[in-house]
């Protein structure tokens, strides 16, 4: 990897963003973490991350709001929605808003990191 890939984690579960963020750092990513949607929107604008992993249900604003804002400010970011369960209708709606894919909780670190790595590799080929 020539340049370190940037990953933004947005989730109000600190345990998870700390644990997974720590793992991603060890694997050579630049990791940005936040517990609120508003902060997430700001970070995305500033850092233009390659990957955004965002929780659907959060305390301040919901994932779909974050998605709308990020799509405006950073069109190149890959947006992954993380949630315990998303029904097909919601998935369709979020895809239309620009969500790339969905990861269902619980997030298992290693395969998720592998998935991210592949996405970034594909993106850089283009």
């Amino acid at each position: 990897m020539k340049k370190r890939a940037k990953v933004l984690l947005i989730d109000d579960d600190y345990e998870y963003i700390n644990g997974f963020g720590d793992f991603l750092s060890r694997m050579g990513y630049d990791v940005y973490k936040t517990g609120t949607g508003t902060d997430g929107i700001r970070l995305a604008k500033e850092e233009q991350p390659d990957i955004v992993m965002c929780d659907l249900l959060m305390l301040d604003i919901n994932g779909d709001e974050v998605l709308k804002e990020i799509r405006k400010d950073s069109p190149d970011s890959i947006f992954i929605m993380v949630s315990a369960y998303v029904d097909d209708k919601t998935k369709d709606r979020l895809r239309k808003l620009g969500a790339h894919s969905f990861i269902e909780k619980i997030v298992v670190f290693k395969p998720t990191e592998l998935y991210i790595r592949n996405l970034i590799a594909e993106k850089s080929k283009k």
Partner: protein, 702 residues
């Protein structure tokens, strides 16, 4: 006996009969009692006048006249009092004043200052000769009548057409009696008038009687049977025969045969058209309107068939049929659990022991209904089976018509109908209508019998729409703990632990294990909460319940959904709120449904976070009832929708979002807990559901 005597005799008889009919129609009603008293007082006075027309003993008549004046005096206050009762007003000062006046007059009535003597009018009838104090009585009479006429005229300014019509008759009747009274007073004062007073009193009685028969005055329903009309017709024919025979006999010697021939000829000639004429006349003027099939269908589809409580359903069915079709008896039999008997579940007009009436499944009538799947007309001997050990009670059902209640061709019940009060038989149209109702009734009965199943299905259906929330509730804590576990494992893999003292690593591992255990318990509790909500149960079990806990439980199940919709739930249930005696499971379903409805309404109205609020308040009202009010800030419900809100299968939600049974079940569950539910809402401003439970001092269990 002269013609005036006849008029007073007939007037008093009419009024006595009226008094008896009205009194026995409803002995518990004050209106009926006071009306009868008034009639008897006036009738006795007129009867006294009749006496004065036929008795000639002067000394006796003097005493007689004083006695009948007692009735005359008390006719004023009772008359006015009756009018207050007819108009539904409380007997006010004027009535009390007139009673006082009557007592006063009674005290002076035996003095010659009140009535000095008796006088003979036109040689036909004796009457009081007034003293100077008699003027008080006259003024009392005039005042009483003016008061009554004024009151009735005022009450006639109503929009209720039937009431207006009733009052028109009352007004006419009052008018005729007023004139009668004026004539009487004129005679007393020796002003030359024709003594028509008692003829007018008969008119009064006839008018009131007519208003009762035709327009249910005083809520009295009189059913005139066709047979009565025919009987009078026969009498009339007989009187023609007798009359003509007599007349011919008088005119022509030995003319009896000729007379008979003439009258027979006349009867043959006029009987058929006369019969038609009389039936027309009676149909038009005496029979109350034939029942309206639309009324029956409306009442059934709107009120009866929506009932989910089987006992109420069957009772409403029989009551409604009896009331609308106007029949003497009605029974509804349902097949028992064992399937060997059809037991009476509700009945009207079958005596006090109707619950004991049942029919065996091998009864002929049952077999007939089972195999033909259609109605049967019952004549007296059809199913007379006297040697059947009393197990067959077809006769005690007093039915002339039996209608099968079927579900998928299976005979689950029988509807039996007695004779119509008008003596008419059931027409083809009647039966078509009843068969149609029986079809719908079958479905309603089966719904009511399977209420627990329906409740369960509705619960599962709502839980089905909540899967996302459930997965969240369970996924979130596991994800948290899992992240911690994975972090520990990664640290180990990257060799971090080698740099740390081993006690610290072990201690961290123990902490992690403890957290895992806590998570297991938490997740298991969440699963249990939903499983508990979803679990079926057959019978209600009442216990003392703290509503604040039930509210918390319901919010607990909905926590994730509420949070996902960005809704704030505030709870204000004072600790001092008395507990209610109810079924915990029912209460939870009630609260769950209403809170969830509120959340969905707020979501649909797209409220901002500050305006997305569900308020739950607990309080007690003046009579000790316990109230739980649940308000949402959704789009509100229009008045028209509010009426239909608690009806089964009514829903405003898009397909897949609701079963349409939720609130109907909530209402039924509230009723089964002896409570009620009502709704207040303004379009655009939100909705408040009010649950009312009986307080401890008038609670019922069961």
């Amino acid at each position: 006996m002269n013609i005036y005597a006849v008029s007073s005799l007939s007037a008093s008889i009419i009024l006595y009969v009226l008094a008896i009919i009205v009194y026995f129609n409803n002995t518990n009603k004050f209106l009926n009692r006071i009306y009868s008293i008034q009639c008897i007082v006036i009738a006795s006075w007129i009867m006294g006048c009749f006496g004065e027309s036929i008795i000639t003993n002067y000394n006796f008549l003097r005493v007689w006249d004083k006695a009948l004046n007692v009735f005359a005096i008390f006719s004023i206050p009772t008359f006015v009092h009756t009018y207050y009762a007819i108009l539904g007003e409380k007997a006010g000062k004027p009535v009390k004043f007139l009673y006082g006046l009557a007592i006063g007059l009674l005290l002076i009535s035996f003095s010659p200052w009140y009535i000095s003597d008796i006088q003979l009018i036109k040689g036909v009838r004796y009457i009081s000769k007034p003293g100077p104090l008699y003027i008080i009585f006259i003024m009392g009479v005039v005042y009483g009548f003016c008061l009554c006429l004024y009151k009735v005229a005022k009450a006639m300014k109503t929009n209720d057409d039937r009431k207006k019509l009733q009052l028109t008759y009352v007004m006419m009747a009052t008018g005729s009696m007023f004139i009668a009274a004026l004539i009487y007073l004129a005679m007393v004062l020796d002003i030359a008038v024709s003594p028509l007073d008692n003829t007018l009193n008969s008119v009064y009685g006839i008018l009131i009687a007519y208003a009762i028969v035709k327009h249910n005055l005083m809520d009295i329903k009189v059913f005139i049977k066709k047979s009565v009309v025919f009987a009078s017709l026969l009498c009339l024919a007989f009187s023609v025969v007798v009359g003509i025979t007599f007349i011919t006999q008088e005119l022509i010697a030995g003319g009896r045969l000729i007379g008979l021939a003439i009258s027979t000829f006349i009867i043959v000639l006029i009987f058929a058209p006369l019969e038609k004429f009389l039936i027309n006349i009676t149909d038009r003027y005496l029979f109350q309107k034939k029942y309206n099939p639309a009324d029956l269908i409306r009442t059934f589809s709107k009120d009866v068939l929506r009932v989910l409580d089987i006992n109420v359903l069957v009772r409403m069915t029989t009551d409604t049929l009896v009331k609308i079709i106007r029949i003497e008896t009605c029974g509804l039999l349902l097949r028992n659990r064992d399937g060997n008997l059809y037991e009476t579940a509700a009945a009207v007009g079958l005596g006090d022991n109707w619950r004991k009436i049942h029919i065996r499944k091998d009864n002929e009538m049952v077999n007939y209904l089972k195999s033909t799947k259609t109605y049967i007309r019952i004549t007296n001997d059809d199913f007379a089976t006297p040697n059947n050990n009393n197990a067959t009670d077809t006769a005690s059902l007093k039915a002339v018509l039996a209608i099968p209640i079927l579900i998928h061709g299976d005979l689950i019940g029988i509807l039996t109908l007695g004779r119509k009060r008008s003596d008419e038989s059931y027409s083809r149209d009647d039966i078509e209508l009843l068969l149609m109702l029986a079809d719908a009734l079958g479905i309603a009965i089966s719904n009511a019998l399977n209420f627990e199943d329906i409740r369960q299905k509705e619960k599962l259906a709502t839980i089905g729409t909540m899967t996302a929330g459930i997965k969240h509730d369970i996924g979130t804590p596991i994800n948290k703990t899992s992240a911690a576990v994975q972090k520990f494992l990664i640290e180990r893999e990257f060799g971090d632990h080698k740099k740390m003292p081993s006690e610290e690593v072990i201690s961290n591992a123990y902490d992690l294990l403890a957290r895992c255990q806590m998570t297991f318990e938490k997740v298991s509790n969440i699963a249990a909460k939903f499983a508990d909500f979803a679990k079926p149960k057959r019978k209600a079990e009442v216990e003392r319940i703290k509503l604040s806990k039930s509210v918390n439980d319901a919010i607990g199940i909905l926590e994730r959904e509420i949070q996902a919709k960005n809704i704030t739930v505030t709870q204000d249930i004072p600790d001092s709120l008395p507990s209610v005696v109810a079924d915990r499971d029912y209460i939870q379903q009630i609260l769950f449904n209403i809170i969830r409805n509120g959340a969905q309404a707020i979501e649909e109205a797209n409220r901002t976070k500050e305006n997305a609020i569900i308020e739950i308040k607990g309080s007690t009202d003046k009579s000790g009832n316990i109230l739980i009010e649940i308000s949402d800030t959704g789009a509100g419900i229009s008045a028209e929708e509010q009426n239909k809100l608690f009806e089964p299968y009514y829903t405003t939600k898009p397909e897949g979002k609701g079963t349409g049974l939720g609130l109907a079940i909530v209402k039924e569950l509230m009723e089964r807990n002896n409570g009620t539910i009502s709704v207040k809402s303004a379009k655009g401003q939100g909705t408040t559901f009010i649950l009312q439970f009986p307080g401890a001092n008038h609670e019922k269990t069961g």
